[in-house]
């Protein structure tokens, strides 16, 4: 059998022990189309199609004009791509008598998103930190209640929370909405942070205690700087949840600060004659853009953070 020429060392031949190299040597010859590889990539590609199909449909539909949409060829690319639906969705679509599309809600959404994400993550991270390192009697009980709370359908809470917000004088304000998002983001995020901090060695905490650092010092100077991955996960979950929220945004605020999803709902649900699918799709894509971008940017950190925060426990 011929020796594969991959055998790089020629000096080896001179070696007394080695003798002649017969039979298989070096790496196994590779068959790029091994059945197992075809299986793996084949499955992945088929699933990818399932996952990508809707995105594709949204995209091509949003680039067609209504006459083409009506022809019903959902999956064919636009014959005559147009950005009109996007412009209409962004700036012209009507709700009631206001015809300024999604643009009005976009900045509201941003205004809601930023404080809500920041505050809810801040509260959850501090809670998770306290649960991991500063336990006190009953802290676990509260935590378990919190976790059960994650299962309660939001709708049940609408009335009682409206009453609580009224009593606090926060109803209809941005502050009230931030509070609601903080409350409903708390279970899952606290769980994530708690599990993450549980994987931080206790000794680190003890060392800081000996160094005279208190609750906040340890949190800000020791724990925060080392929790980037879990902050990313938490941020992604919160951004997604808050950005996509419709119910709280509309129930606990007023039109002046309605988020983008309210406009989206209005555009999608205000049927004027025929449904303008192309505009709906464009609006949908526009609305989903912010979380999508955040996903694409932070994909890798997300898995790392999940590994750190969700799997252990």
């Amino acid at each position: 059998m011929a020796n594969p020429s991959t055998l790089s060392s020629t000096a080896a031949a001179a070696n007394a022990v080695s003798g002649k190299l017969e039979g298989p040597a070096g790496p196994k010859p590779r068959r790029p189309f091994k059945p197992s590889n075809i299986m793996i990539y084949g499955t992945l590609i088929i699933f990818s199609m399932y996952y990508l199909l809707p995105l594709y449909v949204m995209l091509v539909t949003s680039l067609k004009d209504m006459s083409e949409v009506r022809m019903g060829r959902t999956f064919s690319p636009p014959m005559d791509p147009t950005f009109k639906p996007w412009i209409k969705a962004w700036a012209e679509a009507c709700t009631g008598i206001n015809c300024d599309g999604l643009s009005r809600g976009f900045w509201n959404s941003v205004r809601i998103l930023i404080p809500s994400v920041l505050i809810s993550i801040a509260v959850a991270s501090v809670s998770g930190y306290a649960l991991s390192f500063w336990r006190f009697k009953g802290s676990e009980v509260f935590f378990n209640i919190l976790i059960i709370g994650a299962f309660i359908p939001y709708q049940i809470m609408l009335y009682p929370i409206a009453i609580i917000l009224r009593e606090l004088g926060l109803f209809g304000s941005l502050g009230g909405l931030v509070m609601v998002h903080t409350i409903f983001g708390m279970p899952i995020n606290t769980l994530l942070f708690r599990n993450y901090f549980a994987s931080v060695p206790m000794e680190l905490f003890k060392a800081a205690r000996v160094d005279g650092a208190g609750f906040w010092q340890i949190f800000f100077q020791i724990m925060l700087p080392m929790s980037l991955p879990i902050f990313v996960v938490s941020m992604i979950i919160q951004v997604t949840g808050i950005w996509n929220d419709f119910l709280f945004g509309v129930v606990y605020t007023k039109p002046a600060i309605y988020p983008m999803t309210v406009q989206l709902n209005n555009i999608v649900n205000s049927v004027q004659g025929v449904k303008e699918y192309n505009v709906n799709m464009a609006a949908t894509l526009l609305t989903g853009l912010v979380p999508l971008i955040i996903y694409f940017i932070s994909g890798k950190l997300f898995v790392r953070g999940i590994a750190a925060g969700a799997v252990k426990g």
Binding site: S48, Y51, T74, S127, I147, P153
Partner: protein
Amino acid sequence: MAVTDHGQINSGRDFAKPPIRLFKNLSAKLASLPMIMTATVIFVGCSIWTIVHSFTNSRLLPKLNFVGLDQYERLWGSNRWIVSVENLMIFGICSLIFTLLISFTLAALLDRKIRFEDSFRTIFLYPFALSFIVTGLVWQWILNPEFGIQSVVRGLGWESFNFDPLYNPDIVIYGILIAGLWQGTGLIMCIMLAGLRGIDEDIWKAAKVDGIGTLKTYTHVIIPMMKPVFITALVLIASGIIKVYDLVVAQTSGGPGIASEVPAKYVYDSLFLRQNLGQGFAASTMMLCMVVVILIPYVYLQYGGKKDG
């Protein structure tokens, strides 16, 4: 020297007395206040409030006119509620099985040191970024028999092809399932992937030396080892299932007929459309019961007193 002397040394100044318990680690307690308040006031408080009012005949506004179990009798006498619960069970079981199956398969495939892992992962994960409204809308469109898959396949010449899950009461819940899986499997896949990455490399090697095939290694060795991961995944899926509402509303509004009604929608409709708070609260109390039944084993498994302080 006083090696064996047990006499009390009383020269200590401040630290001889235990401090008052309540004020120990005060900042920790203060910092946990939002969590405590959320847990007690919002989750416990509102749940009790809900349960109490489920025994009243409150209409538009909560009132304390107790009517005993009337609301529950009517609830379980209502065809729509029964259908809702049935749907939830079908949807829940299918969603649980398929989510676990698909997400584990994908995670396992991604874990096999493949190329373009990042791209594939992003593809599987991105739907999670979209809201249910969006998800429902797109799938409604794709599953629409006149524009969607059915028409395309028929266009290809297979005239008898029938695929209209959203318009067929018998299978509408599966149409919703398709969209639900599309949106939710990515996150679970990520969790599974993270779990797989946490498995000791040596286990794989040991299995290889033992001559155990890849598939069998997964089924007999790896999956049983990933119990905690599966529990986390289970809880996430279960909480999503119980709350499924937006998706149904966005895709079918419960239709055709009442074929795709779910309990959360029953609650919502009772509370806000029917203006029958008592009925809505009774339904949500039943949902709460389901949650508790699901959660008790989880809490027991996950938090049954662990980790040293």
